[in-house]
Amino acid sequence: MTLHVNDISKSYSNNPVLDQVQLTIEPGEFIALLGPSGSGKTTLLRIIAGLQFADSGSLWFDQIDMTAMQARERQFGMVFQNYALFEHMSVADNVAFGLKMRSGKTRPSKKEIAKRVTNLLEMAEISHLADRFPSQLSGGQRQRVALTRALAIEPRLLLLDEPFSALDTKVRKGLRKSLRDLQRNVGIAAILVTHDQEEALEMADRIAVMNDGRIEQFDTATNLLRNPATPFVADFLEGLSNYMTEGAGI
């Protein structure tokens, strides 16, 4: 269940966005793609999700080449920046969506789906919201629903596109830990896209610092701070050197 990103390149009308990106994500690992806006991190995530396709390079997951595979076949759960909830469906229906869309033998019975949804909502501690509609939820609750919906398809990998950027600072801090806990409980690898250094440092096992379509350094937070590989990394993480010693409160 290891994801290999091999030499992925992508450009929009001669404007390179990703330049031979290499990345390996181990099972159960939580990694962050960290970089300023325009560094290509969201494009990389969307290519991994199958919502965009690379010009060259390949993607391997669990020893299977999925470079050309459609998003719907990849079984990667994704949480979008604005959560992309289905506004015309209740929270329970949002969560059940992925299971209902399955075809033939793989599709659970109605009763089975209802049971699975109940369990998922319980695990995410949002059972009380089951019958609400997205427009009746707070930002933090919406994020919860989006995450639960992504987990409902029993994803093999979890992709998080700036899942905290729509929330205010206070809510954000509390949710970081609970998201990380949820990911640990489910036991799948996750990729977090963020431009927030603190968030990456606090949540990720390893961080890929991105700049101009390249990964400048891919390492643990401690190593990034102690031995920055390039001036950009040192510069981008400046001011966070005390962070590790003082602790983030996890």
């Binding site: 999700a49 199958g50 998003a71 719907r72 990849r74 992309a84 289905f86 869309m101 075809s103 919906r149």
Partner: protein
């Protein structure tokens, strides 16, 4: 002294007053004339006029042809809106502009053009005759003329809603394993549904009252190809104002009923959708 209620936005009284004045002058006054005429009739007279075989036949023809035109325009409008919103191609702007043409064209011109095309000597007419099909001077001709004049409703109501759809939701559905058709059925269409109902009901209401485009191609045979609005005209020419107003009033109430029902359906469907954004 009583304090006048305060509004943040100024000009409420003035703008509402002017609006109501014009609504009364342009819409309500003529309609009240119609209902005043209708009021002259006793209930039994009204019933006698409406239940005459000729009137019933005219209503049957009008309603069925309008339903056909609506069915066609609702589905075709959806398709056309989809093409215009989701794809980029050469001539898209021209196609987009063409859609409003049936509104801009005098309906009589449209009717004459359709006859010229579908008459047995016409271009389409000869083609269809070879397949033993006849459109001009039949029920199909009526449906065709109604379809022509109400095309814009089907497209223009759905198009802006489709433009404002959030593509992220469709991408999310993809990552959750949905196939293209499932995404359309479960994500896209439910969001378009309220505007779809509006478009269909407007097209239907418009088709019910369409006159100019239809009479040229209908043939206007009583019991066969005579539409309700033509029957109104005939009764007027016979100076039978009560009969004309009875038919006209019924037609109007029917159209009103459709619009009200559509409004309810639309409110129900959109109660959970967020406004705007």
């Amino acid at each position: 002294m009583k304090k006048a209620p305060r509004h943040i936005l100024p000009g409420f009284g003035l703008t509402l007053g002017i609006s109501l004045f014009f609504v009364s002058l342009i819409i309500l006054l003529p309609l009240s004339g119609l209902f005043w005429q209708m009021g002259q009739l006793g209930l039994s007279d009204y019933w006698r006029i409406l239940s005459s075989e000729r009137t019933l036949a005219a209503f049957h023809i009008t309603l069925s042809a309008a339903a056909m035109a609506t069915l066609f325009n609702a589905s075709f409008g959806l398709l056309l809106a989809w093409v215009l919103v989701r794809y980029n191609f050469r001539g898209k702007r021209i196609l987009d502009a063409l859609i409003d043409l049936p509104f801009a064209l005098p309906t009589a011109v449209a009717g004459i053009a359709l006859v010229a095309l579908y008459d047995k000597n016409g271009w389409m007419g000869t083609l269809l005759a070879q397949a033993d099909l006849k459109v001009a001077y039949t029920w199909w001709g009526i449906a065709l003329a109604m379809t022509f004049t109400s095309v814009p409703f089907g497209v223009r109501t759905v198009q802006p809603v489709m433009e404002s759809l959030d593509l992220d939701a469709e991408e999310a559905a993809q990552t959750l394993g949905a196939k293209d058709f499932q995404i359309f059925r479960t994500i896209v269409f439910p969001q378009l549904w309220p505007s779809f109902i509006t478009g269909a009901s407007l097209a239907f209401a418009r088709s019910l009252g369409e006159f100019g485009a239809v009479i040229f191609i209908a043939g206007n045979m009583p019991f066969k190809t005579e539409i309700a609005s033509l029957l109104i005209m005939i009764r007027l020419e016979e100076y039978d104002y009560p009969a004309a107003s009875a038919i006209a009033g019924s037609l109007l109430l029917l159209a009103l009923l459709v619009l009200i029902l559509a409004n309810f359906a639309q409110m129900r469907a959109s109660r959970h959708l967020k406004k705007g954004a």
